[in-house]
Symmetry: C2
Subunit: 522 residues, 2 copies
C-alpha cells in the first residue's frame, strides 16, 4: 500500500493524432484509441484434429442422451417433455437428433443495440468485443487494499467501463455493492449502468422480478416501445450451469424470459477440470458443451432462432489446494478446443480475460495475457472479464482495469489491417534507395508522412530508458495505473441522456422500490 | 529496492510427481519440469496472403539487385565477385536467381550437439528452443538496483542458464562483464560458460582471434578432434547487419569462419521501423529479409549447404522519443510476417523474448508475453533473450529470468500432446455418470489416477487466495522470483566435466592470456 495522492495530479499526455488516437485528447485524461469493434482476422489455433472434434461432439451427445441433465425448473421440464425428451424426476435425456436440430436453429451471430446506436456491437462474424470484470464480491486498489464491494466502488468501475473505448459492453456488476439491499440492488445498479454508460448492458438471471425490471429499464433508457424492444437484441443475460449436469431454476427462468423476447442468452458452464468436471481436458470441455447445448436446445425449442452464444469457463484446479487456476496452459488449450466446438455448431463464443493472481503484478499479467491470447486463438467473439479481474474473480481492481485496457488497445491495434499492407508504397524500396547504407529513416519524407499513425502509442506503458524513468520518480506500472484511474474518475462526464428518459427511469426505480423490489431468499 | 535477505531462506517446495516435474525435487530448489525440446504443433498465424509474401520476396530481390548491400569485408566482396555479383566500391548487387539458388542450398534444419549429448537441440523441424538474454551492458536486481555488468554477475546468469531445464542453449553473454579486459574477456567468459553449463554455446563474431579461440575451446570442452568438431554443428554464432543495407567486417569474418567449419550462423538484421528501416512494417520486414539473404547467399556460396538461420529483430520505435519499443502489436505482426518469409525460404527462424520495461513488473510481462506468443505464432525455432531481458536489452535481471522461466515452462506444457487426448478414457463419460448432477470429481478414481500429472504446476505463480497470500507476508511476484534466484545460486552445482578436459581448457586460457588474448581497438 502506498499513498498515491501524488499520483493523481492531472498529467495529460500531449495531444497529436498518433496511431488512430482520439483527436479530443486535449480534454481527455489519456490519449486513447477511438471506439472500434475489432475483426479477428487470425486463423484460429485448432489443437484438435477433426476426429477429436467429432469425438467431443459424440461424447456430448452421449452425455445428453444417456446421462441427461437436471433441470431444476418445472416450466423448462414441461417444454422438454413436449419436445419429446425423456423426463425422469428432474432429469431430461435428449435425443441426439433433437439437440442437433435445435442447435442448428440458432443464428451464427447477432447484433446488440444499446441506447447509443453508435455503440452497437455484433457478436459473431469474426468480431471480438471486450467487457468489464463481472461479479467480484471484493475490490482492491493500491491505496485501500482489499475490501468488500460497495455502491461507490461499483460506480467507479462503471465509469471506467464507459470511459474506455475498448470496453464494448457493460457486463455484470463489476463489483457487488453489498451496501445496497439485495431486493433493490438491481434497480440502483441498472439505473447507474444505464445513465453512466451508453453501452450494451446485461441482466443477471436471478429471479423473474429482476429480469423483468432490467428489461423494462433497458427499454425505457432506449426510448423504445415494447414492440421495438422485442424486435431486436437490446441487452443480454449470461447463465451458468451448476456443473456437473445441472441447470438451476432462476438461470433457466431468466434465460427463457429473455429468449421469448428475442434478447440473447450466453450459456457458460463453469467446468473446472478435476473439481466439477473430469480431470482430463477433453472430458471437461465435453461436459461444458453438453451442459451448454442442453440449455440452448431448450431455448431454441421455445423460441426458434433466438440469439444465443456458447460460453467457456473451463480451467483447472491447483491439485495441491483445489484452488481454481486461470490463464494456465490447460486453460488456453481448453479455450481453443471450445472454439473448435463453437465453430462446429456455428455458435458465437464467449470466453474470458482471467488470472489467479491476487494483485496486479507480473503474474497477473502473464496469466491474463495467456487468457486473452486464448480468446484470440479460439475465435472468441465476446470476452468477459476483459478488464479488472483478480484473484480468480474474487477481486475487481481499478489498476488492473487500466492495465487490461492498455493491453486490449494493443489487441485492437494488432487487428488493424493497414499495418499489413504490402503495396509498392508500403515496401518503400525508393525510400530505402534514398536513405542508403548506414543512413536513417527518421527524417525522410516517407517517414514524415506516416509517423503519426504508423505505430501504436500506449497510454500506460513507459518506454523511456531506465535513467529517464528513474529521474521521473521510478513510478511502477501499478502506480501509474492508479494515477490514471483516479484522474478518469475525477474528470468523468456521463454520456448524454434526455431529461424525460432519465425522469422515467427515476420514476420506475422509485415505484419498484416502493413495491419492495425483488424477493430475497434470506 | 527492498532488503530481500528474508526472502532467500531455503523454502523448498514439497516433492511429488506433479505434471511431469523432476523426481529429484527433494534436493532441488524448485520443482521444475525436466529437460524437453518442445515441438510447436500450432498452425502458424499468417497475416499476409500469398501475394503479400510474394511482394516482400520480390521487393527483397529488388533491394539486392537494384540497391545492393555494402559488405565492409574484402574477402566477402572477393567471393561475391567470383560468384558473379556486381561489385561497385563495397556495394554488392545480387542477381535474383543467384540469391534464390544459394538460399535453396541451406538446410531446413540442423542439430547442435554440445558437450553433454543429452542437451542436443534441433533448430527447425517444428521445434522451439529457448536461450538466455544476451549482451546487456547492465544488470538490475531487487536489492542492488541497476549497475554495470561484472564477472560475478555474469557467472550468476550462466548458473541460472544451466539450472533451468527450459533453457536450451547458452546464447551470448547474459551480461557484459566490463571488469574483465576486452582482450581476454572471451576467454574467461567461455571458460565459465563451458564449465558451468553443458548446453550449446555461442561465439560472438568480434574478430578472428575470438572466434577461433571459442571454436577451439568448444572443441576441447567436447573432447573432440578437429575432424569431429568440423563434422557436425557444435556451437553457433549470431551476426547482425548494420541496418540499413550494410554488413560489417567482423560479423562477416566470423560468419565465414564458422560456415567453413560447418558451424551454424544465425543472421539477424536489427530493422527498427522508422529508424533503421522504413516506417511501414512490410518495408522493414523486406529490408531485414534482404540483408539476411545477402549474408546467407555469401555463406552458401563459400560453404554450400552450411547450416544457417534467418533471424528477425524487426520492431518499431516510439515516435515521440525515438526509443525502441518491443512486444508491441507491430512487433508481433512483423515477427509473424518474417515467419511466413522463413517458411517461404525453408530456413529455420530465430526471434526473441523482449520488452521495453525497465523493471520486472506488469508491463514487462505483457510485453514479454506478446513477444513469446509471437515466437509461437511465427513458428520461431530459436528464441533468443527468452529469459532475463529488460529495458530493450540494456538490462539483464535475475528476477525477470526466473519469471520468464516460469512462463517458458508453461509454453512447454502447452505443447505437450497428452493434454489434447480425446480417447474414450479421456472423455470420461462413465466417470461423469458415476459422479452425477451436483457431485464433484475430486474423489473419483479417474481423478485419483491422474491428478499428479494432470495439470501444470508452477514454481513461481502464487495461486493461494488473497488471505492465505497475505498471511504468508503478501510477497509479490518480483520478491518471490528474487528469493528463488538467490537459492539457485547458493545451491548451484556445476555439471560434471572430467579433470583432463578441464585442465586442457585452463591451460588453453592461460596460454592465450600470455599471448595477449585478442586485439582491441581501444
Amino acid at each position: 500500500m502506498t499513498d498515491a495522492a501524488d499520483l493523481t495530479a492531472p498529467r495529460r499526455r500531449r495531444t497529436g493524432g498518433r496511431a488512430g488516437h482520439s483527436a479530443r485528447a486535449g480534454h481527455e485524461v489519456i490519449d486513447q484509441m477511438p471506439w472500434r469493434v475489432p475483426l479477428n482476422t487470425d486463423r484460429p489455433t485448432e489443437p484438435l484434429p477433426p476426429e477429436g472434434v467429432q469425438a467431443i461432439h459424440d461424447g456430448a451427445m452421449r452425455v445428453l442422451s444417456e446421462i441427461g441433465i437436471e433441470f431444476l425448473n418445472d416450466e423448462a421440464l414441461g417444454h422438454l417433455r413436449d419436445a419429446g425428451c425423456k423426463i425422469e424426476g428432474q432429469t431430461a435425456r435428449f435425443d441426439r437428433q433433437f439437440v442437433e436440430e435445435m442447435v442448428a436453429k440458432a443464428p451464427p451471430s447477432f447484433t446488440l443495440t444499446p441506447r447509443n446506436l453508435a455503440r452497437q456491437i455484433t457478436i459473431g462474424e469474426g468480431h471480438i468485443v471486450f467487457g468489464n470484470v463481472s461479479s467480484p464480491p471484493n475490490a482492491w486498489d493500491l491505496v485501500r487494499g482489499k475490501r468488500p464491494g460497495d455502491m461507490e466502488t461499483y460506480r467507479e468501475f462503471i465509469k471506467l467501463t464507459q470511459y474506455f473505448n475498448c470496453m464494448h459492453f457493460a457486463g455484470g456488476y463489476p463489483v457487488e455493492p453489498i451496501d445496497v439491499h439485495a431486493s433493490v440492488r438491481h434497480l440502483d445498479c441498472l439505473y447507474d449502468k444505464l445513465t453512466l454508460t451508453d453501452k450494451v448492458v446485461h441482466a443477471y438471471s436471478l429471479g423473474p422480478e429482476r429480469v423483468e425490471d432490467v428489461m423494462e429499464m433497458v427499454r425505457i433508457a432506449g426510448g423504445l416501445s415494447h414492440a421495438e424492444f422485442d424486435a431486436t437484441p437490446r441487452m443480454y443475460t449470461n447463465i451458468n450451469s451448476v456443473s456437473p449436469l445441472k441447470h438451476d431454476w432462476p438461470m433457466l427462468d431468466g434465460a427463457m424470459r429473455l429468449a421469448r423476447r428475442g434478447q440473447p442468452v450466453v450459456v457458460t458452464p463453469f467446468t473446472l477440470a478435476g473439481a466439477m468436471a473430469p480431470v482430463t481436458l477433453s472430458g471437461a470441455v465435453m461436459l461444458s458443451v453438453a451442459e451448454a447445448l442442453a440449455a440452448i436446445a431448450l431455448l431454441q425449442w421455445i423460441a426458434p432462432g433466438c440469439p444465443v452464444a456458447i460460453g467457456t469457463f473451463t480451467s483447472n484446479v491447483d491439485m495441491k489446494s483445489g484452488a481454481p487456476a486461470f490463464g494456465t496452459p490447460e486453460y488456453i488449450r481448453a479455450t481453443q478446443m471450445t472454439g473448435q466446438m463453437a465453430r462446429f455448431y456455428r455458435l458465437p463464443l464467449r470466453s474470458s480475460g482471467v488470472c489467479a493472481a491476487n494483485v496486479p503484478d507480473a503474474q497477473a499479467m502473464w496469466e491474463t495475457m495467456n487468457s486473452l491470447w486464448a480468446a484470440v486463438q479460439s475465435g472468441t467473439n465476446m470476452v468477459y472479464h476483459a478488464a479488472g479481474w483478480l484473484e480468480g474473480g474474487l477481486i475487481a481492481s481499478p489498476e488492473k482495469f487500466v492495465m487490461d485496457c492498455e493491453v486490449l488497445q494493443q489487441f485492437q491495434r494488432y487487428f488493424e489491417p493497414q499495418i499489413l499492407g504490402t503495396s509498392e508504397v508500403d515496401l518503400a524500396i525508393d525510400t530505402i534507395a534514398e536513405v542508403g547504407p548506414g543512413g536513417h529513416f527518421f527524417g525522410c519524407q516517407h517517414t514524415q508522412d506516416r509517423y503519426q499513425d504508423a505505430f501504436y502509442g500506449p497510454f500506460l506503458s513507459d518506454w523511456r530508458n531506465y535513467e529517464a524513468w528513474q529521474l521521473a520518480g521510478s513510478v511502477g506500472t501499478t502506480e501509474r495505473a492508479h494515477g490514471i484511474y483516479k484522474r478518469i474518475i475525477a474528470e468523468f462526464e456521463p454520456p448524454p441522456m434526455d431529461a424525460g428518459t432519465q425522469d422515467e427511469l427515476t420514476d420506475f426505480v422509485a415505484r419498484r422500490k416502493r413495491e419492495g423490489g425483488a424477493p430475497t431468499d434470506f
